[in-house]
Symmetry: C2
Subunit: 412 residues, 2 copies
């Protein structure tokens, strides 16, 4: 059960002009499940993406990077079941054959297709079954396919994640609709596995690329479930331009700020949805670090706290075992940290409690106040380092019996 | 239940000339348990230690560092129950009062006493109860106190860890006896919480200090249970000099190599015992990385694999989910790693299986071979990077339901 997250209804997911989506059952790894998604985008659309920094990145990630550099994108194809990672030359050939299959059906060039895979690593993709499933996905292409696609890209996810929002830019309504998947192997490094957002905004290619990197950093690159960076992480934004707003060509363009806010907002919502549905999660935790010298050291502290199995099991147990948070701050790698200046607050539902100050237990802190907040499903941890003006926020979940159960049983 | 580890019998732990140990029940945190250990060492003994690099290091760690720099050590005092970390000035005062209490009883100076604490962080040490317990511990001082002390320093440990060995140096028999404790918050950085080795070897102070750092790196700094570096880690070696071997003054000294081997051997045994008794452990895993450019990158890869919750849950499930190992190698931080050259072997009980080669599944690999090895309690993972001559080994355990249970319930 995800923490405070309900899949939006099909009706709430707005179609994006210039984007059609279809799904199919290709039997990639198991029969009888929707495991193939095809996204067709109109000519003239602009696409930008960021991908995993894992050195064992999957074959489709290699192909995506190459195709994005070569040609304008006309289609995306996503399979679940097999990640096509650690599959060598055979895996590269399978990713290319997938693109060729899509290209033939949609009458585009193979390098106008971006392939994405998610699932088990180190097993070969049954590309024949995938390609055999493509005609059914193509026949299913429709503007309102988001709801079904958000389900079709799930693996260990318990709910589908998707969101829509709209923003007025110079009198034109711009729509953004996106979906994401992933519940384990989540500590994205550049982007998570998998986030897709489409919008009809008209924006220059270089501006779109810059925004994708910036927004990825604030959203998918600021979450963690288990600290494991996937081999297949990808975050892709499609801009079809069909809203007919005045093109956004620089940061001074009319609508830039509003579009950036809308894009960051939907990306953060989709990224947080992954954590809310993190494997075995019972709590959604925001770790906000402030007063650092730079954003990097704030992120290092936030991730140390967010990755600590001891902190995560304490949240699971609703135990205000605050020493574990301090210990994680202490080993986060800031060699000259003056722990005598560190303060920590716990918060939930508008209530904030100072639990540690000057590196120790806060004078006025009462265990029952900490315990009351730890009982809640959404908890904030605020850590003030008191050595600068930088800040960073990371979202994570707790660590429960079910995390172990899910991952011990995943392949069986 | 620890993995293949049985506490040695009291009789197998050899006394070390010049060292006496006594224990007591001081009621530090809970009544009716042995929670106080006193170690008295003869005048003329040499002592060296390495301590946690956690910035939130505990008050006793600060006091140990200061006292080691000021005076020759005559006593060590160890309490369990409360870690005296994150306790500010009051905690520093408590650590100093502890030393004063010991000094008065044993008629030494307070800065000749090293204090050690382990237990809950962020709670104040009840120093009055600790000091009140000291006379009973002093009355209990005896050369054969190791067995009881190894039990008295336990916290979430399920078994006591101790070992003895002896080595001939130029016709003199040198004895080494040590003990260690710790099962969670184990990813030592300089030393673990807590390792003590005493020996009657005659060795120069600077040689002892160098050896302690070197041996810590090979033993306590090469293990991990959960990746959490404790606030209280300490590894201390006491050399009383009473074996009357010719003093070891440099690496050419007679007996240096033999003593180094004996010291490293007992330290590795004690460090591995912590992993065998790691919280919830059902498997003992050696991750050996070879063919790196330097030891640091080999350690980074070994720790990435050893810390991955996905790898650890796969070991718990005896599931040869090898893609998780490759994914961890890929995100270990070697930016120019050529994954096409990486090979991975699984081994157990003398049987070794090549599971991945050239970055993918090995041609001859059969799932049943991997599955057979994963069933065993002691498993080796060997990873060849094929880019240099450096190597490093890390020992870890799997991640089970019981890890979550133990840490969710630790304070209750």
């Amino acid at each position: 059960m995800p923490v405070n997250y309900v899949t939006p209804s099909a009706a709430s997911l707005a179609p994006v002009a210039g984007v059609r989506i279809g799904i199919a059952e290709a039997g990639i790894r198991k029969k009888g499940r929707r495991d193939l998604t095809l996204i067709e985008v109109d000519e003239g659309s602009r696409v930008a993406g960021v991908f995993t920094k894992n050195r064992f990145c999957a074959a489709p990630v290699h192909v995506c990077r190459a195709h994005l550099a070569q040609a304008s994108v006309r289609a995306l194809v996503i399979n679940t079941g097999i990640a096509n990672a650690g599959t060598g030359e055979q895996g590269m050939a399978a990713a290319r054959e997938t693109c060729e299959g899509v290209a033939k059906l949609l009458e585009v060039a193979p390098n106008q297709v971006l392939p994405f895979s998610t699932g088990v690593i180190l097993e070969q993709l049954p590309v024949d079954r995938l390609v055999a499933g493509l005609p059914a996905a193509a026949a299913d292409l429709r503007a309102d396919g988001w709801f079904d696609a958000a389900h079709a890209i799930m693996t260990t996810d318990t709910v589908a994640k998707a969101a829509s929002r709209s923003v007025e830019l110079g009198g034109r309504t711009v729509t953004l609709t996106g979906m994401s998947k992933g519940a384990g192997m989540i500590r994205p490094n550049m982007a998570t596995m998998l986030g897709f957002i489409a919008t009809d905004v008209h924006i220059a290619q270089d501006m779109l690329e810059g925004l994708v990197r910036e927004v990825a950093d604030l959203s998918f690159n600021s979450i963690t479930v288990d600290g494991d960076t996937s081999t297949n992480d990808a975050f892709v934004v499609i801009a079809t331009g069909q809203a007919e707003n005045a093109e956004i060509i620089d940061e001074q363009s009319n609508g830039y700020a509003a579009f950036r806010e809308a894009l960051a907002g939907i990306a953060i919502e989709l990224a947080q949805a992954l954590v809310r549905d993190g494997e075995g999660a019972t709590k959604f935790i925001e770790v906000a670090v402030e007063g650092g010298r730079d954003r990097d050291e704030c992120r290092a502290v936030a991730y140390a706290v967010s990755h600590s199995p001891l902190v995560k099991t304490a949240f699971f147990a609703s135990d205000p075992n605050l020493g574990r948070i301090l210990a994680a701050v202490g080993y986060a790698g800031i060699d000259d940290l003056d722990v005598g200046k560190v303060s920590v607050w716990l918060s939930s539902a508008g209530e904030e409690v100072l639990v540690a100050e000057r590196g120790g237990r806060a004078t006025g802190y009462r265990e029952e106040d900490g315990a009351r907040i730890m009982q809640r499903a959404e908890i904030g941890v605020r850590i003030a380092l008191a050595r600068g003006d930088a800040a960073a926020t990371v979202w994570t979940c707790d660590f429960s019996y079910d995390y172990v159960k899910i991952n011990a049983e995943y392949r069986s």
